[in-house]
């Protein structure tokens, strides 16, 4: 046999016992060619294009799943940022398009469709502004549409006027949905990648071709198990074994992504090598860090451990595929990762330490429940803090906060399914109001003098 029993079993074990899966296949679709000044024709064009390709995506992904025995958990679609395609339409066009995207996704059996958003890092057009204002209504009246905003970048700085709006908008979204769950479908970014396959922030960027098939692999369980097998080795050796594992799972992801794109006759885009946790036992990024020797994530040493982990994953991934892209970091969502959640519950992990962790990993303050009475300006300030880490360091950072109505720090919230459950985090009581309300634009950072 060309392969040893150990090699075959390594692959089989990853899928059977360590939750190795393709977290998402996300087809990016350009909707610019659907634009029409007659909104009914426009909607019909969007519906036809999204359902046709959505159905094909679900069908072809099912066949590949069978062929390789690797589950493909989510089949998703991202589209051209909606604010761009409704520029010439009437006031209520963004909502009309959101509703048709929602219906198309449901009819094609696509669980989430991303791209309801705008790139406003330097300023807002009239269309951007009305789209932002429509977010509370959109997120409370649709089921599957995800929203994003890019409000900062390393070359443009940070749009503080947009960030002021977001504090109130997040509270409004939260107040209209059970447990504030509408906020889980909205991510705000700095340096948002145009080919990210993960929700809520996926959109089909303006530099992309007509279609692009992007794939997000996931293997916290696989990485955790190799760390578990290497309890005694030093950190140099540990980095090496993580690197090798990342190489293997990225190769599998690339194979599946390329074949799926080829079967659909669309260009293959990127493999996103992010470690993305789930609430399944063992499938936790916190679990990897704790297996490395940190008692609870959040304890001193956590930032260094996470830095080593993501560096090794990137090195292995970059060797395995020339198409690594998207976010490609390590996700540390709180509610979606049982280990992170436990760290919050036990007091090991504060929002300030989470912010520090995001300086070395992707992708930001993710799925964090905060008290419902947090002032809007404080929410804006948390967003500004997190995004400035991305802007200054030339990396992507994002924020997905849920100000849960009626809940205070320490309360338990259950969002259901993959979104998970969590405890409301404590937020500083000191005010940032006067700073935030100054507004304006934070200038782009100097890129020399890197200390």
């Amino acid at each position: 046999m060309e392969y040893s029993l150990d090699e075959v079993m390594e692959t089989v074990r990853m899928t059977l016992y360590h939750n190795f899966d393709i977290r998402t296949v996300t087809l990016g679709i350009n909707l610019k060619d659907c634009i029409d000044t007659d909104i009914e024709i426009f909607k019909s064009n969007v519906y036809d294009k999204v359902t046709e390709y959505g159905k094909r995506l679900v069908y072809e992904a099912g066949k590949i799943e069978d062929k390789y025995g690797v589950p493909i958990i989510n089949k998703r679609i991202s589209v051209t940022p909606v604010s761009l395609i409704v520029e010439s339409c009437k006031e209520d066009a963004p909502l009309e398009i959101a509703k048709i995207l929602d219906r198309a996704a449901r009819d094609a059996n696509i669980d989430f469709i991303g791209g309801y958003g705008a790139l406003v890092q330097k300023g807002m057009t009239r269309s951007d502004s009305r789209l932002i204002d429509s977010l509370p209504e959109m997120l409370s009246s649709t089921e599957r549409v995800c929203a994003f905003l890019n409000v900062g970048s390393t070359v443009s700085g940070m749009n503080m006027d947009a960030i002021i709006k977001l504090g109130n908008i997040l509270k409004d979204i939260a107040s209209r949905t059970d447990n504030g769950i509408g906020c889980t479908k909205f991510a705000v970014f700095s340096n948002a990648p145009e080919d990210n396959p993960f929700m809520a922030g996926a959109f089909h960027g303006i530099g992309e071709p007509d279609f692009s098939l992007n794939i997000g692999i996931s293997g916290p369980g696989v990485v955790r198990s190799v760390v578990e097998k290497n309890r005694e080795c030093d950190l140099t050796a540990l980095s090496e074994v993580i690197k090798r594992t990342a190489f293997k799972i990225t190769r599998a992801g690339e194979l599946i992504g390329r074949e799926l794109a080829s079967n659909m006759e669309v260009p293959f885009g990127i493999v996103d090598i992010s470690l993305a946790s789930t609430n399944k036992v063992g499938d936790s990024v916190a679990g990897i860090v704790e297996m490395m020797g940190i008692e609870r994530i959040g304890a001193p040493g956590s930032t260094a451990a996470l830095a080593l982990l993501i560096d090794a994953v990137k090195k292995g991934g970059a060797m395995a595929s020339g198409n690594v892209g998207g976010l490609s970091g390590t996700f540390i969502p709180v509610s979606e990762d049982s280990g992170m959640n436990e760290a919050v519950r036990s007091g090991a992990l504060s929002i300030e330490k989470l912010e520090a962790l995001t300086a070395v990993c992707s992708v930001g303050l993710d799925m964090i429940a905060i008290p419902g009475d947090t002032p809007a300006e404080t929410i804006s300030a948390i967003i500004a803090d997190e995004l400035s880490i991305g802007v200054v360091n030339g990396k992507t950072t994002g924020v997905r906060l849920i100000p849960v109505p009626g809940k205070i720090a320490g309360d338990y919230v259950n969002f259901g399914g993959l979104l998970g459950e969590t405890y409301v985090m404590d937020i500083s009581k000191f005010s940032s109001r006067d700073f935030i309300l100054r507004g304006g634009r934070m200038p782009a950072p100097i890129t020399s003098m890197r200390n």
Partner: protein, 92 residues
């Protein structure tokens, strides 16, 4: 005709008839066994069978349905995966 190779992996408690049942199912679908390997690993019976599906009309999905029954009756885990994934992961 080029080969269309799949790995059929069986994990479970050692018992009579495992290889017989699997081989029978494979034969029924006109699938050729190219190689077979078995041993006890960590207290479990482990078998990997490399099989060529080029002459078969069945899809991997069909074979999996067939194996689902054996899995249930004999309390085994049976995985069917196309060879390409092993090549991608273990060969540069």
């Amino acid at each position: 005709m080029p080969k269309d190779l799949v790995f059929i992996t069986v994990i479970g408690k050692d018992q009579k008839g495992i290889i017989a049942r699997i081989s029978n199912a494979v034969f029924k679908h006109n699938i050729n066994i190219e190689d077979l390997n078995q041993k006890v690993m960590d207290g479990y019976f482990v078998m990997t069978m490399l099989a060529d599906m080029a002459d078969s009309r069945a899809s991997i999905g069909d074979i999996k349905k067939e194996f689902a029954e054996i899995e249930k009756q004999m309390d085994l885990k049976i995985q069917v995966q196309h060879e390409n994934i092993f090549k991608a992961m273990h060969r540069v």
